[in-house]
Symmetry: C2
Subunit: 588 residues, 2 copies
Amino acid sequence: MATLQELDTAIAEQSALFNQFKARTDPAEAVELEAARVKLGELKKSRGALLQAAGAGSKDKKKERLLLKTAKGTRDYGPAEMFCREHIEKTVKDVFHLYGGSCLDTPIFERKDVLAGKYGEDAKLIFDLKDQGGEELALRYDHTVPLARYLAMAGTTITNAKLWQVGKVYRRDNPVMSKGRMREFSQADIDFAGSWDPMIPDAEIISLLGTILAKLDVGEFTIKLNHRKILDGIFEVCGVPSEKIRSISSAVDKLDKLPWVEVKKEMTQEKGLDPIVAEKIGQYVKLKGTEAPKLLEQLLHDSTLTSNKSAKEGLSDMNILFTLLQSYGVLDKISFDMSLARGLDYYTGIIYEAIVEGSAPPGLKQADALTSTPTSESTDLTPKPDSKKKPKKKVEEEGEEEIDESQVGVGSIAAGGRYDNLVGMFLSAASGEGKKTASIPCVGVSMGLDRIFAILWPRWIERGMRSKGTMVYVMSAGDGLLQERVQLAQALREAGINTEFSFKNKPKLPAQFAAGEKDEVPFAVILGGDELKAGLVTVKEQKWEFKDGQKVKVQSEEKGTQVPRDQLIDWIKNTQTFRDWQIGKWIS
Amino acid sequence: MATLQELDTAIAEQSALFNQFKARTDPAEAVELEAARVKLGELKKSRGALLQAAGAGSKDKKKERLLLKTAKGTRDYGPAEMFCREHIEKTVKDVFHLYGGSCLDTPIFERKDVLAGKYGEDAKLIFDLKDQGGEELALRYDHTVPLARYLAMAGTTITNAKLWQVGKVYRRDNPVMSKGRMREFSQADIDFAGSWDPMIPDAEIISLLGTILAKLDVGEFTIKLNHRKILDGIFEVCGVPSEKIRSISSAVDKLDKLPWVEVKKEMTQEKGLDPIVAEKIGQYVKLKGTEAPKLLEQLLHDSTLTSNKSAKEGLSDMNILFTLLQSYGVLDKISFDMSLARGLDYYTGIIYEAIVEGSAPPGLKQADALTSTPTSESTDLTPKPDSKKKPKKKVEEEGEEEIDESQVGVGSIAAGGRYDNLVGMFLSAASGEGKKTASIPCVGVSMGLDRIFAILWPRWIERGMRSKGTMVYVMSAGDGLLQERVQLAQALREAGINTEFSFKNKPKLPAQFAAGEKDEVPFAVILGGDELKAGLVTVKEQKWEFKDGQKVKVQSEEKGTQVPRDQLIDWIKNTQTFRDWQIGKWIS
């Protein structure tokens, strides 16, 4: 039997081998990866058994300890954070409703064959469910594929729809928790499905996105825009062979985090592109501008480009789009950016991405030889395991890698585009005849709520935002008066006023005030035996302010106001505080 | 090689064997179950290969068809249903806030060892995630265990908290979709954790539950109440041996769906209880009453019972509780019910369950020899695979059983109780020393939102409730006016008014009216070229009414009102319709 030392060495070696295999992308090598994993597991079990056998004779045999933690890449959110997250969610949903969106709710897991083939290389990031004798299932990876399945299943009963979904999605990737990159994360999607006149729903989605970002107060933001047909046209006129277009496109996509020099190297050395062709591409993809119509004008005067059918269609679309975006009042947020390519194959028209100022990683100054605009971190919502500029790693147990969080920015906080053929793919696969079927054209956007939270939460804390919405704390001035407190609390609650009181029979006044102050409850209603007999209660309003980086109670000489008990509700509803809270002014 | 016929026979036999094994509850037999499952899978693969080989030569070789469906026991919810479900969720959350609750959000999956040992026999209903080289994970089964883990992890930083969580939980059981029994279903939980004076938080939770059910308009409801200590006391004074107490308790729990005769048989024949003891138990568990204080009085005069320490403590608690419930104004909804036992072991104090009138299954008239109160379907939120009165089944593929849905009622829609030791169990397991550690006492309730939806949704349809919240539809009277429609829509949206318009360049008026009417949009705002030049728009209000079981538009002679464009927003905000919608009167 191996010694502990021999096992530890073997485990370290096997872990390293396992890591190597994991980094490979060829699906044909999956079997070897699986074998390596199994062997690693067996070595660890042997080690465990050895330890157990060794400890069996020991007198102080401790029970096996339960590790109290959440699963890797997931976390709990407590009350204060949830107050912020619920605010973000409500803001997003309110805008969805403003634009006529309806809610769709799909299950957290799908049949595996629904997800198969939709995510390219990222398929290895899908969380599978264990085979327990039924269907093969996996956790949803995004909201888009389930939406397409829903529309395909609806068949001819749905010709057009505005559907949104807010919920968690799952990817088995390397987490960077502090920047909102986790294995379980929240996405808010809205998609317009249907055939309408060109670019109108596309413009509506971009306007909606701009409205949400403005309302959320994430700071200065930019919506980068491009068009799949323009990109394809550029590649064609530059001379990219058609079989290389997708892989060159994904190289271009890296221009937001790598300098042109490196991207060009990837194109020529890794992907075998003619350097002259690459150079020509470089002349185009450096073009970007926040005066979108100007750049469009410039491109429309490029006869090489406009002679290309695909580019011409794309540019025509952009022309219609910019006119609409001007009417929507969102054109000033747009950057028309030739380097925006996006990873997913299924986009067929415009593509866009929203980035927030200051979401670039600290210390990662990417001097791009072609542009002076600072580049932000990954533009794709999926953390890319094969990113070239990966910060220093530390090796964790099971051979998995941890990313140095200080080197990672939040990246883009929303992205999307037009994808006209996805529903058709489902219909075609379902018909089993391999023929092309009709499709429902779609355009949509996906927002990374955890990334938005990662930006907003520190500011929320900085500004000392409240974390609870209780308005009244009912207290007794030393007489207990439990039944009376209960009855009054119920009356206030029936009138729609969030109310709490101490769950003690005879609570002391200081403790009750402390409880109310902990949650910044504005109104203290104090009951006294004699007062109550006279039909009166005392109300004391309390305010807080932010001073020297801390929330402090505003000291007041006020002793409180005596109010007849049966007029208390009206009294409260007539206060400025109540009116402010009604219109949502309470969270600031 | 086996023929298709031979394989089909073998598969049918293996399926039957697999079913038999699945019904067994002894964990020691798990290996045999697994082997049976594997063999079944192999037989099916062989069959598939046989078919494929047979079809390989055929000219019309069809591509393998994709089955477009959701996973078994799960479903999508479309816009109209989500409108109802979101209303239910908002109502529940509003009440949580009224009572000072804060939101907690835990991940959808936990490490398996966190869930292990918490669910007794139901452990086989847990959805595992596939072992993909990392931690062993499983989908959460409820919100209670994650909450207890969260509190244990918080250690001394949390001494008391009022925490709620609304979200999906997962159980691999036999679904009855139409009655809200699924594998993925929504639960809304709220729990008060902390040490306070006896019964106050318990009363608060019961009041909260009653408030929610009243607001949701689920019809007449009853909250059944009992106390673990009273039950244990009853069992002791009747002479139940202590090792049989848990299993006799679970037999008593079936009294809501089985007559006493059958329950007594289970106690004596299956569980080996002395028939005399069973008879004594029968005398107690038949006791129930909606005049709770009266029954309490009766029990307090039962000297046999009050001489038992456990029963005495329980009765004393009930005394305090009823006084409080009177003050809360919820006592009239209570049924003090000696037959309420509930399955889970971890309850230590009061237990309760809410049932709705009319949630009993049709045609399943259970004449209970001891009581004339009609019994409702299962009181436990977990569909019990071993229920004796299971309605007729049909055998499905993979040998799984389908339940005849017309025979199943919705059952209880909420349940909970006090559980003082669960957090302590986690702390103890985490300390690894096997000693008892401090615990945080908890009391809480879990609501089955799908069951509530199953009750509300048919009524919603009956009453022709609206399914969208758009208030204004901006139209053009045949002049296109796309940019003008966009600009006006944006102005309305900025003012907080949900607005839509047609995504067509030159939409026809009838089509626009039809679009607005489909969603019962109350205001049509019509733009005309000349009118706009004069700074005017036309507003037409539309109403709908429910007539002869159908929603119809109220015919009106009104041609619409001309309003200056820059006064339109104020005009709309001054209508009764707008004011009604502001206070939520729009959903009726």
